[in-house]
Symmetry: C2
Subunit: 335 residues, 2 copies
DNA sequence: TTGAAAGCGCTAACAC
DNA sequence: GTGTTAGCGCTTTCAA
């Protein structure tokens, strides 16, 4: 049925050890033997089993990627670069969308562990850090993406969220907005962005108030709903800073449905700079994360850990870039 | 180091066979033994190795998914539902973005084969059908997604592209457009949509001409470029039917940059109904594919093949739905 | 330069 | 009800 190393060995008239050597390019042998074996492998359409070789202590050449939602453009764009970089190293990636749900996080982590992935890329939140500790103490390489690892002590790759939040906010403040709402997500990165928001607010001499902060899970629908709330506030804000593009887009849609003009009646800043930011009209002012570089870096790091063992945990921060487009402007005098 | 079935057996004071039985819920045994083994597995943090069990003839519980580009919202939305359905069945999915590149298709197919995935979901084009024949003749389950399998004889899941193309086009024709350009992709699905386009064109009594057809690879950038070409045509078309949303959005952007009003100066219809269709302004008239149902169906089918063997190849067509939004309207008299 | 054989972690008869 | 054992397909000493 399935062709194995034995079939190849037999047909080539050598031992399986020899075949194994040509597969892995190890040991020495007569060039003619190597050629012959190669030829037979071709003829027989032989594909060495990764399973079997993994069982003997080799790697599975597989990475586990846990993201909140692969259909969120931010993560799908990230996944794409991760996938490409991984494939360059001969590794494939198993994707898992957790919805930031603790049950799923646990389940997928276990599943991937049973599949002996060589390493984990964690972009989901894992409020329950114990789950991650298990894999850390098992010595399986792991790196955090778009968030730092807190007390866990593994290397993390993210954008400088504090600065990103600061820049988004001061862009708005410098345009003259004084009543800005921030919509956060229940993630660590949002927390840092919120601190940046606060810092900017106070730097500009305004007093930061709790009531400026809203929280929701990333989706367009939820963004729309946030707009509703904002719309009903007594003292209506003139600007909103959404912690990601998806939410920002939802706010825009909500605003349009209520007949507001953007940015005249409401300025909006997003975060991520996904494809959505450029396709919406007016195009979205947002804080760009260097998705491609981050994706590439994260596999470089994990592959390095896999091959050369865990290094000291680093915290790698990428620089966010404010991209001013058309959803931000000066507030109306009577805003 | 790694805890194995032996460690569990030893600590529980039973044989590995017994442990294996509790893992797989097979055979009978005293309830107390089962309990004890379970407890020890917990204590030891034991994760049965999928590798090892796969080696003994069991499945790997892994699906291979080949798409052109996971960062295209159509495919990322599809991937999400596939992933969810697969996880419900205890399977995970390895994603591969081929860019419709033959080299990559070949490489990823081999890699996945070496990893002994239980089945393939093929949404990439595979112009070189020989590649797929290999896996078919190896008896590995496979199903085509968003395209039918041609002479390959495997079951396929797609939308009724012909009808979709027909409806998109007659929507435009019935609005009074007479000079419509279609932008296709180099994929089989586009070919069917083109036939639908042609059929509609002729049904309405107009003569279809080759020069109405453009072809490009799906991306916003390419959509923009197509607009350039359209813009320069002597007899400027009043409408375009793009074979997917990404391209359609590109056309919209191109048109806006040239100061055209949509739909007054140019009507546009897309295909897929991804998130992009709702976030753009004006919102995109497009032909919806039931992404969720298709994704669910495709894993149902593949799982069934894996478990009960290949059935007769079916061709499963889902119904496309034209969603008229704001990028289509009557043509200008002097269009 | 090549091969024999032990072992990776598990499953599935088949004994006891 | 429970254990023994022969593989699964491969890698890797160690001998020859």
């Amino acid at each position: 049925m399935k062709v194995t190393i034995y079939d190849v060995a037999e047909k080539a008239g050598v031992s399986i050890a020899t075949v194994s050597k040509v597969i892995n390019n190890t040991g020495n042998m007569r060039e003619s033997t190597r050629q012959k074996v190669m030829r037979v492998m071709e003829e027989l359409n032989y594909y060495p089993s990764v399973m079997a070789s993994a069982l003997t202590g080799k790697k599975t050449q597989t990475l586990g990627l846990l993201v909140p939602d692969i259909s969120n453009p931010f993560f799908s764009e990230m996944a794409r670069t991760i996938e490409d970089s991984a494939h360059e190293q001969g590794m494939s990636v198993i994707m898992c969308s957790t919805d930031e749900d603790e049950e799923k996080e646990k389940k997928y982590l276990e599943l991937l562990r049973r599949k002996q992935v060589d390493g984990f890329i964690i972009a989901s939140s894992f409020r329950e850090k114990k789950l991650l500790e298990g894999i850390k103490s098992a010595g399986i390489p792991m790196v955090m993406l778009t968030q730092n690892s807190g007390t866990l002590g593994v290397t993390s790759i993210s954008v400088d969220d504090f600065t990103g939040g600061y820049e988004a906010t001061s862009h708005l403040l410098s345009l003259g907005h004084e009543n800005i709402v921030i919509i956060t997500e229940p993630r660590l990165s949002s927390k840092m962005r919120l601190y940046g928001f606060r810092e900017a607010y106070e730097t500009y001499g305004f007093s930061y108030k709790e009531e400026l902060v809203m929280e929701t899970v990333a989706s367009m629908e939820n963004g729309k709903q946030c707009f509703q709330e904002i719309f009903q506030k007594k003292k209506r804000p003139t600007a909103v800073f959404a912690c990601n593009d998806l939410i920002a887009i939802g706010v825009i849609q909500g605003a349009r449905e209520h007949g507001l003009n953007i940015p005249e009646d409401l300025s909006i800043v997003g975060f991520d700079n996904t494809i959505l930011a450029t396709t919406t009209v007016p195009s979205l002012t947002t804080v760009a994360q260097p998705i491609k570089e981050m994706g590439k870096k994260v596999v470089d790091v994990i592959v390095d850990h896999i091959q050369h063992g865990e290094k000291n945990a680093e915290r790698i921060l990428f620089k966010p870039t404010l991209i001013a487009r058309d959803t931000t402007g000066k507030p109306h005098k009577n805003g």
